[in-house]
Protein backbone atom coordinates (compact mmCIF):
# COMPACT_ATOMS: atom_id res chain seq x y z
CA UNK A 1 0.00 0.00 0.00
CA UNK A 2 2.75 2.45 0.96
CA UNK A 3 4.80 1.47 -2.07
CA UNK A 4 1.75 1.92 -4.33
CA UNK A 5 1.12 5.44 -3.00
CA UNK A 6 4.75 6.34 -3.53
CA UNK A 7 4.66 4.98 -7.10
CA UNK A 8 1.57 7.00 -7.94
CA UNK A 9 3.14 10.21 -6.69
CA UNK A 10 6.37 9.47 -8.43
CA UNK A 11 4.57 8.89 -11.73
CA UNK A 12 2.60 12.13 -11.33
CA UNK A 13 5.82 14.05 -10.82
CA UNK A 14 7.35 12.42 -13.86
CA UNK A 15 4.32 13.36 -15.97
CA UNK A 16 4.42 16.93 -14.67
CA UNK A 17 8.12 17.21 -15.50
CA UNK A 18 7.52 15.79 -18.98
CA UNK A 19 4.67 18.22 -19.63
CA UNK A 20 6.70 21.18 -18.43
CA UNK A 21 9.52 20.15 -20.73
CA UNK A 22 7.09 19.74 -23.64
CA UNK A 23 5.67 23.23 -23.01
CA UNK A 24 9.15 24.73 -22.93
CA UNK A 25 9.97 23.07 -26.26
CA UNK A 26 6.73 24.37 -27.80
CA UNK A 27 7.43 27.89 -26.57
CA UNK A 28 10.96 27.82 -27.98
CA UNK A 29 9.67 26.51 -31.32
CA UNK A 30 6.97 29.19 -31.32
CA UNK A 31 9.53 31.92 -30.78
CA UNK A 32 11.57 30.62 -33.71
CA UNK A 33 8.48 30.57 -35.87
CA UNK A 34 7.75 34.19 -34.99
CA UNK A 35 11.29 35.17 -35.89
CA UNK A 36 11.12 33.34 -39.21
CA UNK A 37 7.82 34.87 -40.25
CA UNK A 38 9.20 38.30 -39.33
CA UNK A 39 6.09 39.21 -37.41
CA UNK A 40 6.30 42.87 -36.38
CA UNK A 41 9.70 43.40 -37.91
CA UNK A 42 10.66 46.20 -40.30
CA UNK A 43 11.01 43.70 -43.14
CA UNK A 44 7.37 42.78 -43.07
CA UNK A 45 6.99 43.18 -46.84
CA UNK A 46 9.92 40.92 -47.66
CA UNK A 47 9.61 37.18 -47.19
CA UNK A 48 11.21 34.31 -48.99
CA UNK A 49 12.16 36.31 -52.10
CA UNK A 50 8.77 37.91 -52.69
CA UNK A 51 8.01 41.57 -52.19
CA UNK A 52 4.70 42.91 -50.97
CA UNK A 53 4.33 45.77 -53.45
CA UNK A 54 0.97 46.81 -52.02
CA UNK A 55 2.55 47.25 -48.59
CA UNK A 56 5.44 49.18 -50.14
CA UNK A 57 3.00 51.49 -51.90
CA UNK A 58 1.04 52.05 -48.69
CA UNK A 59 4.19 52.80 -46.72
CA UNK A 60 5.40 55.33 -49.29
CA UNK A 61 2.01 57.05 -49.25
CA UNK A 62 1.88 57.08 -45.48
CA UNK A 63 5.44 58.17 -44.71
CA UNK A 64 6.10 60.72 -47.44
CA UNK A 65 4.33 64.06 -47.54
CA UNK A 66 3.09 64.45 -51.07
CA UNK A 67 1.94 67.93 -52.04
CA UNK A 68 -0.76 66.68 -54.33
CA UNK A 69 -3.56 64.33 -53.61
CA UNK A 70 -2.39 60.99 -54.98
CA UNK A 71 -4.68 58.88 -57.13
CA UNK A 72 -4.31 55.30 -58.36
CA UNK A 73 -3.85 55.38 -62.14
CA UNK A 74 -6.63 53.86 -64.17
CA UNK A 75 -5.43 51.01 -66.41
CA UNK A 76 -6.95 52.76 -69.42
CA UNK A 77 -4.48 55.62 -68.96
CA UNK A 78 -1.43 53.47 -68.41
CA UNK A 79 0.02 53.91 -71.89
CA UNK A 80 0.00 57.68 -71.45
CA UNK A 81 2.45 57.29 -68.62
CA UNK A 82 4.64 54.34 -69.53
CA UNK A 83 5.78 53.22 -72.94
CA UNK A 84 6.27 49.51 -72.26
CA UNK A 85 3.84 46.71 -72.92
CA UNK A 86 1.79 46.31 -69.70
CA UNK A 87 1.97 42.53 -70.04
CA UNK A 88 5.65 42.74 -69.06
CA UNK A 89 4.46 43.37 -65.53
CA UNK A 90 2.68 40.65 -63.61
CA UNK A 91 1.82 43.07 -60.82
CA UNK A 92 1.76 46.84 -60.80
CA UNK A 93 0.85 49.81 -58.64
CA UNK A 94 0.96 53.29 -60.14
CA UNK A 95 -0.20 56.24 -58.06
CA UNK A 96 0.00 59.69 -59.58
CA UNK A 97 -0.57 63.29 -58.60
CA UNK A 98 -3.65 65.13 -59.78
CA UNK A 99 -1.65 66.59 -62.61
CA UNK A 100 -0.08 69.67 -61.10
CA UNK A 101 3.02 68.08 -59.53
CA UNK A 102 5.45 65.45 -60.80
CA UNK A 103 4.91 63.26 -57.75
CA UNK A 104 4.46 59.64 -58.61
CA UNK A 105 4.83 56.11 -57.28
CA UNK A 106 5.31 53.26 -59.72
CA UNK A 107 5.95 49.71 -58.53
CA UNK A 108 6.18 46.69 -60.77
CA UNK A 109 6.86 43.01 -60.55
CA UNK A 110 8.17 42.12 -63.99
CA UNK A 111 7.70 38.78 -65.71
CA UNK A 112 11.48 38.26 -65.71
CA UNK A 113 14.68 40.20 -65.20
CA UNK A 114 14.89 41.28 -68.84
CA UNK A 115 11.41 42.74 -68.56
CA UNK A 116 12.46 44.46 -65.34
CA UNK A 117 15.28 46.23 -67.21
CA UNK A 118 12.82 47.34 -69.92
CA UNK A 119 10.51 48.74 -67.24
CA UNK A 120 13.39 50.55 -65.59
CA UNK A 121 14.27 52.17 -68.91
CA UNK A 122 10.62 53.23 -69.33
CA UNK A 123 10.79 54.87 -65.91
CA UNK A 124 13.83 56.89 -66.95
CA UNK A 125 11.95 57.91 -70.08
CA UNK A 126 8.98 58.95 -67.97
CA UNK A 127 11.22 61.16 -65.85
CA UNK A 128 12.63 62.84 -68.96
CA UNK A 129 9.11 63.41 -70.35
CA UNK A 130 8.04 64.99 -67.09
CA UNK A 131 11.04 67.31 -67.16
CA UNK A 132 9.94 68.55 -70.57
CA UNK A 133 6.32 68.91 -69.49
CA UNK A 134 7.11 70.90 -66.35
CA UNK A 135 10.10 73.02 -67.35
CA UNK A 136 7.82 75.82 -68.55
CA UNK A 137 4.77 74.97 -66.48
CA UNK A 138 6.04 74.65 -62.90
CA UNK A 139 9.88 74.81 -63.00
CA UNK A 140 10.04 74.33 -59.24
CA UNK A 141 8.89 70.76 -59.75
CA UNK A 142 12.09 69.96 -61.63
CA UNK A 143 13.97 69.64 -58.34
CA UNK A 144 11.92 66.51 -57.60
CA UNK A 145 13.06 65.07 -60.92
CA UNK A 146 16.77 65.69 -60.38
CA UNK A 147 17.42 62.43 -58.60
CA UNK A 148 14.22 60.40 -58.50
CA UNK A 149 14.41 57.18 -56.55
CA UNK A 150 14.47 54.24 -58.96
CA UNK A 151 15.37 50.80 -57.62
CA UNK A 152 15.57 47.52 -59.53
CA UNK A 153 16.07 44.26 -57.68
CA UNK A 154 15.59 41.01 -59.55
CA UNK A 155 12.15 41.13 -61.12
CA UNK A 156 11.06 44.11 -59.04
CA UNK A 157 11.31 47.73 -60.10
CA UNK A 158 10.16 50.71 -58.09
CA UNK A 159 10.13 54.45 -58.62
CA UNK A 160 9.14 57.22 -56.27
CA UNK A 161 9.19 60.86 -57.28
CA UNK A 162 8.64 63.11 -54.30
CA UNK A 163 10.11 65.96 -52.34
CA UNK A 164 11.70 63.55 -49.87
CA UNK A 165 14.15 61.37 -51.80
CA UNK A 166 16.05 60.14 -48.75
CA UNK A 167 12.92 58.81 -47.05
CA UNK A 168 11.70 57.28 -50.30
CA UNK A 169 15.09 55.59 -50.81
CA UNK A 170 15.05 54.25 -47.26
CA UNK A 171 11.60 52.70 -47.70
CA UNK A 172 12.40 51.32 -51.14
CA UNK A 173 15.64 49.73 -49.89
CA UNK A 174 13.78 48.15 -47.01
CA UNK A 175 11.61 46.24 -49.47
CA UNK A 176 13.64 45.88 -52.63
CA UNK A 177 17.30 45.58 -51.59
Amino acid sequence: MKQTTYNRHHRARQIARFLALLMAVIMVLGSFALLLTGCGSADSGKAAGSVDLAALKDELLADISFESEMTPLDDALFDRYYSFDPSLAVEKYVVVSNGWTVEEIALFQAADETAAKTIEAAMQERVENQKKAFEDYVPAELTKLQSPVIVRSGVYVGMCISGDDSKAQEIMDQYLK
Binding site: A16, L19, I26, S65, S68, L77, D79, R80, V96, W100
Partner: protein, 342 residues
Protein backbone atom coordinates in the same frame (compact mmCIF):
# COMPACT_ATOMS: atom_id res chain seq x y z
CA UNK B 1 -5.28 13.06 12.10
CA UNK B 2 -3.75 15.38 9.57
CA UNK B 3 -0.43 14.59 7.94
CA UNK B 4 1.52 15.07 4.71
CA UNK B 5 2.77 12.53 2.24
CA UNK B 6 6.48 12.29 2.11
CA UNK B 7 6.95 11.16 -1.46
CA UNK B 8 10.70 11.70 -1.37
CA UNK B 9 11.28 9.17 1.30
CA UNK B 10 9.27 6.00 0.77
CA UNK B 11 11.12 4.19 3.47
CA UNK B 12 9.69 6.53 6.05
CA UNK B 13 6.17 7.18 4.96
CA UNK B 14 3.87 9.26 7.06
CA UNK B 15 0.59 7.64 7.82
CA UNK B 16 -2.10 8.82 5.46
CA UNK B 17 -5.80 8.66 5.97
CA UNK B 18 -7.99 7.43 3.13
CA UNK B 19 -9.75 10.82 2.89
CA UNK B 20 -6.54 12.81 2.49
CA UNK B 21 -5.24 10.37 -0.05
CA UNK B 22 -8.34 10.93 -2.23
CA UNK B 23 -7.92 14.70 -1.96
CA UNK B 24 -4.33 14.46 -3.06
CA UNK B 25 -5.29 12.35 -6.06
CA UNK B 26 -7.96 14.91 -7.08
CA UNK B 27 -5.44 17.76 -6.74
CA UNK B 28 -2.98 15.89 -8.92
CA UNK B 29 -5.59 15.29 -11.59
CA UNK B 30 -6.55 18.96 -11.51
CA UNK B 31 -2.92 19.93 -11.90
CA UNK B 32 -2.46 17.62 -14.88
CA UNK B 33 -5.63 18.93 -16.57
CA UNK B 34 -4.50 22.51 -16.04
CA UNK B 35 -1.13 21.77 -17.58
CA UNK B 36 -2.76 20.07 -20.55
CA UNK B 37 -5.06 23.06 -21.09
CA UNK B 38 -2.12 25.48 -21.06
CA UNK B 39 -0.18 23.32 -23.53
CA UNK B 40 -3.18 23.02 -25.85
CA UNK B 41 -3.69 26.81 -25.80
CA UNK B 42 -0.01 27.44 -26.53
CA UNK B 43 -0.03 24.90 -29.35
CA UNK B 44 -3.15 26.45 -30.86
CA UNK B 45 -1.58 29.93 -30.72
CA UNK B 46 1.59 28.69 -32.42
CA UNK B 47 -0.42 26.84 -35.07
CA UNK B 48 -2.38 30.01 -35.82
CA UNK B 49 0.78 32.07 -36.21
CA UNK B 50 2.39 29.50 -38.48
CA UNK B 51 -0.70 29.00 -40.60
CA UNK B 52 -0.18 30.31 -44.18
CA UNK B 53 -3.87 31.05 -44.51
CA UNK B 54 -4.09 33.63 -41.77
CA UNK B 55 -7.33 35.53 -42.01
CA UNK B 56 -6.53 38.79 -43.81
CA UNK B 57 -8.12 42.11 -43.10
CA UNK B 58 -9.96 42.94 -46.31
CA UNK B 59 -8.10 45.62 -48.27
CA UNK B 60 -9.81 48.96 -48.42
CA UNK B 61 -11.09 49.89 -51.86
CA UNK B 62 -8.62 51.97 -53.85
CA UNK B 63 -9.22 55.53 -53.09
CA UNK B 64 -7.45 58.81 -53.44
CA UNK B 65 -4.86 59.53 -50.83
CA UNK B 66 -5.11 62.84 -49.04
CA UNK B 67 -1.82 64.21 -47.78
CA UNK B 68 -2.00 65.95 -44.42
CA UNK B 69 -1.49 69.31 -46.11
CA UNK B 70 -4.72 68.91 -47.98
CA UNK B 71 -6.58 68.46 -44.73
CA UNK B 72 -4.84 71.42 -43.16
CA UNK B 73 -5.74 73.58 -46.12
CA UNK B 74 -9.39 73.10 -45.34
CA UNK B 75 -8.96 74.70 -41.97
CA UNK B 76 -7.22 77.87 -43.03
CA UNK B 77 -8.03 80.78 -40.85
CA UNK B 78 -8.12 84.33 -42.06
CA UNK B 79 -4.74 84.81 -40.43
CA UNK B 80 -3.30 81.81 -42.26
CA UNK B 81 -4.63 83.03 -45.55
CA UNK B 82 -3.33 86.53 -45.14
CA UNK B 83 0.09 85.08 -44.52
CA UNK B 84 0.60 87.58 -41.75
CA UNK B 85 0.52 87.02 -38.05
CA UNK B 86 0.25 89.77 -35.56
CA UNK B 87 2.90 89.92 -32.88
CA UNK B 88 2.55 91.52 -29.49
CA UNK B 89 -1.09 92.20 -29.93
CA UNK B 90 -0.65 94.08 -33.17
CA UNK B 91 -3.51 94.48 -35.57
CA UNK B 92 -2.66 93.00 -38.94
CA UNK B 93 -4.51 94.42 -41.85
CA UNK B 94 -4.54 92.98 -45.30
CA UNK B 95 -5.65 95.06 -48.23
CA UNK B 96 -6.01 93.54 -51.63
CA UNK B 97 -6.99 95.87 -54.39
CA UNK B 98 -7.51 94.39 -57.77
CA UNK B 99 -6.49 96.19 -60.88
CA UNK B 100 -8.90 97.08 -63.64
CA UNK B 101 -9.36 94.35 -66.16
CA UNK B 102 -8.28 95.37 -69.62
CA UNK B 103 -10.58 92.83 -71.21
CA UNK B 104 -12.58 93.80 -74.19
CA UNK B 105 -16.24 93.00 -74.05
CA UNK B 106 -19.22 94.11 -72.14
CA UNK B 107 -17.32 95.97 -69.51
CA UNK B 108 -18.01 93.60 -66.70
CA UNK B 109 -14.52 94.04 -65.43
CA UNK B 110 -14.82 95.12 -61.86
CA UNK B 111 -12.73 96.55 -59.14
CA UNK B 112 -12.84 94.81 -55.80
CA UNK B 113 -11.31 95.60 -52.49
CA UNK B 114 -10.84 92.93 -49.93
CA UNK B 115 -10.02 93.86 -46.38
CA UNK B 116 -9.28 91.40 -43.64
CA UNK B 117 -8.32 92.49 -40.15
CA UNK B 118 -6.94 90.07 -37.62
CA UNK B 119 -6.41 91.10 -34.02
CA UNK B 120 -4.05 88.90 -32.10
CA UNK B 121 -3.62 90.46 -28.68
CA UNK B 122 -0.90 89.21 -26.37
CA UNK B 123 -2.09 86.63 -23.91
CA UNK B 124 -4.65 85.20 -26.25
CA UNK B 125 -7.39 87.75 -25.66
CA UNK B 126 -10.45 87.83 -27.89
CA UNK B 127 -9.68 88.46 -31.56
CA UNK B 128 -11.76 90.70 -33.77
CA UNK B 129 -13.57 88.49 -36.25
CA UNK B 130 -12.47 89.02 -39.83
CA UNK B 131 -15.03 90.51 -42.17
CA UNK B 132 -16.07 88.13 -44.93
CA UNK B 133 -14.19 88.50 -48.21
CA UNK B 134 -15.79 90.57 -50.92
CA UNK B 135 -18.16 88.72 -53.19
CA UNK B 136 -16.84 88.13 -56.71
CA UNK B 137 -18.96 89.83 -59.32
CA UNK B 138 -20.17 87.28 -61.83
CA UNK B 139 -22.11 87.97 -64.99
CA UNK B 140 -25.39 86.19 -65.58
CA UNK B 141 -25.29 83.51 -68.25
CA UNK B 142 -27.32 84.55 -71.32
CA UNK B 143 -30.25 82.21 -71.80
CA UNK B 144 -29.38 81.29 -75.39
CA UNK B 145 -26.01 79.79 -74.41
CA UNK B 146 -26.88 78.44 -70.97
CA UNK B 147 -27.24 74.70 -70.43
CA UNK B 148 -30.11 73.93 -68.11
CA UNK B 149 -30.13 71.06 -65.66
CA UNK B 150 -31.14 67.83 -67.35
CA UNK B 151 -31.69 64.18 -66.57
CA UNK B 152 -28.46 62.56 -65.50
CA UNK B 153 -26.65 60.66 -68.24
CA UNK B 154 -24.41 57.68 -67.67
CA UNK B 155 -20.81 57.13 -68.74
CA UNK B 156 -21.76 55.88 -72.18
CA UNK B 157 -22.96 59.40 -73.03
CA UNK B 158 -19.29 60.41 -73.18
CA UNK B 159 -18.20 57.57 -75.45
CA UNK B 160 -17.79 59.87 -78.44
CA UNK B 161 -16.63 62.88 -76.51
CA UNK B 162 -13.36 64.80 -76.41
CA UNK B 163 -12.29 66.78 -73.36
CA UNK B 164 -9.71 69.40 -74.22
CA UNK B 165 -7.86 71.50 -71.70
CA UNK B 166 -5.01 72.07 -69.27
CA UNK B 167 -3.89 70.48 -66.01
CA UNK B 168 -7.33 70.82 -64.45
CA UNK B 169 -8.71 68.65 -67.23
CA UNK B 170 -5.79 66.29 -66.67
CA UNK B 171 -7.07 66.00 -63.10
CA UNK B 172 -10.50 65.09 -64.44
CA UNK B 173 -8.88 62.47 -66.65
CA UNK B 174 -6.83 60.98 -63.82
CA UNK B 175 -9.88 60.77 -61.58
CA UNK B 176 -11.09 58.09 -63.99
CA UNK B 177 -14.72 59.13 -63.67
CA UNK B 178 -15.27 59.68 -67.38
CA UNK B 179 -13.47 56.60 -68.55
CA UNK B 180 -15.19 56.40 -71.94
CA UNK B 181 -14.21 59.90 -73.01
CA UNK B 182 -11.09 60.90 -74.93
CA UNK B 183 -8.87 63.38 -73.16
CA UNK B 184 -6.71 65.73 -75.16
CA UNK B 185 -5.15 67.62 -72.31
CA UNK B 186 -1.78 68.27 -70.76
CA UNK B 187 -0.23 70.31 -68.00
CA UNK B 188 0.62 73.84 -69.02
CA UNK B 189 -1.67 73.71 -72.06
CA UNK B 190 -3.20 77.00 -73.15
CA UNK B 191 -5.12 78.39 -76.08
CA UNK B 192 -1.93 79.41 -77.87
CA UNK B 193 -0.38 75.95 -77.66
CA UNK B 194 -3.46 74.18 -79.07
CA UNK B 195 -2.04 74.23 -82.60
CA UNK B 196 1.65 74.01 -81.82
CA UNK B 197 2.53 71.95 -78.76
CA UNK B 198 2.55 68.18 -78.97
CA UNK B 199 1.04 66.11 -76.20
CA UNK B 200 1.49 62.46 -75.34
CA UNK B 201 -1.54 60.50 -76.54
CA UNK B 202 -0.32 57.15 -75.28
CA UNK B 203 1.25 54.16 -77.02
CA UNK B 204 4.16 56.34 -78.04
CA UNK B 205 1.98 58.69 -80.08
CA UNK B 206 2.56 62.42 -79.87
CA UNK B 207 0.51 65.04 -81.62
CA UNK B 208 -0.82 68.54 -81.28
CA UNK B 209 -4.41 68.67 -80.07
CA UNK B 210 -5.41 70.21 -83.38
CA UNK B 211 -3.97 67.26 -85.31
CA UNK B 212 -5.32 64.68 -82.89
CA UNK B 213 -8.84 65.92 -83.63
CA UNK B 214 -8.39 64.97 -87.29
CA UNK B 215 -8.17 61.31 -86.33
CA UNK B 216 -11.84 60.76 -85.58
CA UNK B 217 -15.17 62.56 -85.42
CA UNK B 218 -16.70 63.36 -82.03
CA UNK B 219 -20.32 63.98 -81.04
CA UNK B 220 -19.38 66.33 -78.24
CA UNK B 221 -16.35 68.45 -77.46
CA UNK B 222 -15.76 70.07 -74.07
CA UNK B 223 -13.23 72.89 -73.83
CA UNK B 224 -11.66 74.17 -70.61
CA UNK B 225 -8.95 76.79 -70.90
CA UNK B 226 -8.17 79.92 -68.97
CA UNK B 227 -6.21 79.18 -65.83
CA UNK B 228 -2.87 79.40 -67.61
CA UNK B 229 -3.93 82.56 -69.44
CA UNK B 230 -5.71 84.61 -66.76
CA UNK B 231 -2.62 86.67 -66.03
CA UNK B 232 -1.89 87.48 -69.65
CA UNK B 233 -1.62 91.25 -69.91
CA UNK B 234 -3.84 91.32 -72.99
CA UNK B 235 -7.12 89.55 -72.25
CA UNK B 236 -8.29 90.05 -75.82
CA UNK B 237 -5.49 87.75 -76.99
CA UNK B 238 -7.00 84.96 -74.88
CA UNK B 239 -10.40 85.47 -76.49
CA UNK B 240 -8.92 85.74 -80.00
CA UNK B 241 -7.04 82.45 -79.58
CA UNK B 242 -10.08 80.78 -78.05
CA UNK B 243 -12.19 81.93 -81.00
CA UNK B 244 -9.60 80.50 -83.38
CA UNK B 245 -9.93 77.11 -81.67
CA UNK B 246 -13.73 77.15 -81.76
CA UNK B 247 -13.75 78.05 -85.46
CA UNK B 248 -11.23 75.29 -86.16
CA UNK B 249 -13.38 72.76 -84.32
CA UNK B 250 -16.53 73.86 -86.12
CA UNK B 251 -14.74 73.30 -89.41
CA UNK B 252 -13.07 70.04 -88.43
CA UNK B 253 -15.92 68.57 -86.38
CA UNK B 254 -19.05 70.10 -87.90
CA UNK B 255 -21.44 67.67 -86.21
CA UNK B 256 -20.02 68.02 -82.73
CA UNK B 257 -21.83 69.92 -79.98
CA UNK B 258 -19.25 72.26 -78.51
CA UNK B 259 -19.35 73.16 -74.83
CA UNK B 260 -17.15 75.90 -73.45
CA UNK B 261 -16.69 75.33 -69.74
CA UNK B 262 -16.34 78.32 -67.47
CA UNK B 263 -12.93 78.85 -65.92
CA UNK B 264 -13.02 77.47 -62.40
CA UNK B 265 -12.24 79.89 -59.58
CA UNK B 266 -9.31 79.59 -57.16
CA UNK B 267 -9.32 79.49 -53.37
CA UNK B 268 -9.21 82.54 -51.17
CA UNK B 269 -5.73 81.52 -49.98
CA UNK B 270 -4.49 81.41 -53.57
CA UNK B 271 -6.12 84.75 -54.25
CA UNK B 272 -4.15 86.31 -51.40
CA UNK B 273 -0.95 85.43 -53.23
CA UNK B 274 -2.31 86.26 -56.68
CA UNK B 275 -4.16 89.44 -56.15
CA UNK B 276 -7.46 89.73 -57.94
CA UNK B 277 -7.27 86.27 -59.50
CA UNK B 278 -10.90 85.37 -58.88
CA UNK B 279 -12.34 88.59 -60.20
CA UNK B 280 -10.16 88.34 -63.31
CA UNK B 281 -11.34 84.77 -63.87
CA UNK B 282 -14.96 85.85 -63.48
CA UNK B 283 -14.36 88.67 -65.98
CA UNK B 284 -12.86 86.24 -68.45
CA UNK B 285 -15.90 84.01 -67.99
CA UNK B 286 -18.11 86.94 -68.99
CA UNK B 287 -16.08 87.19 -72.18
CA UNK B 288 -16.46 83.46 -72.78
CA UNK B 289 -20.24 83.85 -72.55
CA UNK B 290 -20.01 86.41 -75.34
CA UNK B 291 -17.82 84.05 -77.32
CA UNK B 292 -20.50 81.38 -77.00
CA UNK B 293 -23.15 83.83 -78.16
CA UNK B 294 -21.07 84.76 -81.20
CA UNK B 295 -20.21 81.19 -82.20
CA UNK B 296 -23.39 79.30 -81.37
CA UNK B 297 -21.69 77.16 -78.75
CA UNK B 298 -22.85 76.31 -75.23
CA UNK B 299 -21.56 77.81 -72.01
CA UNK B 300 -21.30 75.35 -69.11
CA UNK B 301 -21.20 77.21 -65.82
CA UNK B 302 -19.21 74.65 -63.86
CA UNK B 303 -17.48 77.45 -61.95
CA UNK B 304 -20.65 78.60 -60.21
CA UNK B 305 -21.53 75.05 -59.23
CA UNK B 306 -18.18 74.60 -57.48
CA UNK B 307 -17.95 78.03 -55.85
CA UNK B 308 -18.72 79.08 -52.33
CA UNK B 309 -21.11 81.90 -51.48
CA UNK B 310 -18.42 84.46 -52.32
CA UNK B 311 -17.71 83.06 -55.77
CA UNK B 312 -14.44 81.40 -54.78
CA UNK B 313 -13.24 77.83 -54.73
CA UNK B 314 -13.74 76.50 -51.19
CA UNK B 315 -10.50 75.77 -49.33
CA UNK B 316 -11.33 72.08 -49.05
CA UNK B 317 -11.69 71.83 -52.83
CA UNK B 318 -8.00 72.10 -53.57
CA UNK B 319 -4.67 71.50 -51.89
CA UNK B 320 -2.84 74.09 -54.00
CA UNK B 321 -5.73 76.49 -54.47
CA UNK B 322 -6.18 75.71 -58.16
CA UNK B 323 -6.44 71.99 -58.87
CA UNK B 324 -9.39 70.06 -57.57
CA UNK B 325 -9.41 67.32 -54.99
CA UNK B 326 -11.05 64.03 -55.70
CA UNK B 327 -14.29 65.12 -54.01
CA UNK B 328 -14.58 68.23 -56.19
CA UNK B 329 -13.65 66.36 -59.35
CA UNK B 330 -16.64 64.22 -58.46
CA UNK B 331 -18.80 67.35 -58.24
CA UNK B 332 -17.47 68.55 -61.58
CA UNK B 333 -18.31 65.19 -63.16
CA UNK B 334 -21.77 65.24 -61.60
CA UNK B 335 -22.41 68.68 -63.09
CA UNK B 336 -21.34 67.50 -66.56
CA UNK B 337 -23.65 64.51 -66.30
CA UNK B 338 -26.63 66.62 -65.33
CA UNK B 339 -26.13 69.49 -67.78
CA UNK B 340 -26.33 68.23 -71.32
CA UNK B 341 -28.14 69.39 -74.44
CA UNK B 342 -30.32 66.88 -76.27
Amino acid sequence: MKCDINVDNPTNPTPVSEKNSRRARVRKRQFVFLLLAIILAAAAAVALLLSPGLPQVPAEPQQAYYPPEALLDASHTAADQSGQTGADGAVVTLNTTEGDSTAEGDGTAGQTETTASVLTPAGGATATPSPPPAVITQAAVPAEVAVAASTEVDDSYFASTAFIGDSRTVGLMISGRLSQATFLASVGMNVSKFFTETIDLGSGTESTIADALKAQPYDKIYLAFGMNEYDWPDKSEFIREYLRIVEYLQGMQPDAVIYIQSILPVTYAYEQEHSGANQTLADLNALLMQLCQNTGTYYLDVARSLSDEYGRLPAEASSDGVHLTSAYLEKWTAYLKTHTVP
